[in-house]
């Protein structure tokens, strides 16, 4: 028997879908970072949040470190830094807590997200 992945344990695609609305709502309401998420096209923004959550949950995706670097390069130019990264981590944790995901799985998701810090911040 293979061990279920973190993605499967958190609840897979359905968990991502449940988390998108909650996470995006938190981010839009968070004055520390909402300037990065102001795009008028909310569907496109939400689809990107879904990509983000799938990566953080260790789900199937084809994003490389370089892709994450490229995707955030225009934000780094606008001043994206560690404090913003920390705020996103906080919103991620709060979202998963709200969805009643067990603490050890939240810690694992946080570790996956944390591992992308240097790529996201373009260092």
């Amino acid at each position: 028997m293979t061990n279920p992945s973190l993605f499967e344990k958190i609840g897979g695609e359905a968990a991502v879908n449940a988390a998108v609305d909650i996470f995006y709502r938190k981010v839009l309401a968070d004055k520390r970072i909402n300037q990065f998420f102001e795009g008028v096209d909310m569907e496109k923004q939400a689809a990107k949040q879904k990509s983000f959550l799938t990566v953080a949950f260790g789900g199937p995706n084809k994003y490389t470190g370089k892709d994450l670097r490229d995707a955030h390069a225009h934000l780094v130019k606008r001043g994206l830094n560690d404090s913003h990264f920390d705020a996103v981590m906080e919103n991620l944790g709060a979202t998963l807590t709200e969805l009643k995901v067990p603490a050890d799985l939240i810690a694992q998701a946080a570790a996956v997200a944390e591992s992308t810090r240097n790529d996201v911040l373009g260092r």
């Binding site: 695609e13 909310m42 496109k44 990509s51 199937p60 995706n61």
Partner: protein, 323 residues
Amino acid sequence: MPRILFDNQEYESGPGETILDCLTRHGVPAPHSCRSGLCHTCMMRALKGTPSGESQRGLKDALVLQNYFLPCVCVPPGDMSVVLPDAETFRTDTVVTRLDRLNPEIIRLRLARPENYQYRAGQYLTLFNADGVGRSYSLASVPALDGDLELHIHRVPGGVVSGWVDDRLQAGATVSIGEALGDCFYVPGRPDQPLLLIGTGSGLAPLYGIARDALQQGHTGPIKLYHGSSTPDGLYLVQELQDLALKNPGFDYRPCVSRGNAPAWTVRARADDRALEENPNLAGWRIYVCGNPDMVNHTKRRAFLAGASLSDISADPFLPSLP
């Protein structure tokens, strides 16, 4: 192996190959980003053939009903004909059956519904003037209730198409229209879900269609319609909507006036403000917002922050044409 028809060319897909991979292998430039069914950049629509279930996961119900899908995760189950959402060129001719005025600035245009013309109340179509200039107008008619297609056209100063409709068009004339598009329509399946409809000006057109469609389909949950205008003159179909509210206890109609004196039968407020004040918790609701683009985008965001799920918000900003 299944064959894919795209842009008038047929491509044969390989074993287990997705439609996106098949097109790119043949050198066809198709938009894409994540290639994992997440980002929706590559979204297409199937005109023939059925997309795989996996390729429609995570799409809004309204898009699924119209056969939209994600080619990056779609291994075609059989032959398919697919298009990019903005590459649709379907056009058909029809006849003006009636023209009248709903208020000093808004004209009601009724067109014979062409045979086999599929649409849902609240979607929009492109109306072409005699020179082939096209503009989008939303459908106020309901396929199950109305024989004709009904549009509410606000005459804008110097408007190429709205001016042509008002000055030139007469009953009996032939006009050209495109197919019905967009995801602003009533989705059956959750008859007790509360519906919030917010519109300004001719933004009432799709909402008038959606409200009547929902009632006609046996919707049991509350339906609240807020129609706003800067002056009482700008409100229209008032009698019809008041009658509809009398006949249907679940349906509420709130005509709103945002400037000057408001008569007793109206509310002195902006429609969007009043709608959100009276309904501050929108978790579980379905929202429709149409009309002035700034109002629509602003209200969409407010409704989302008030708890509505993004997949339960349908919004059509009536954007002006780009020069």
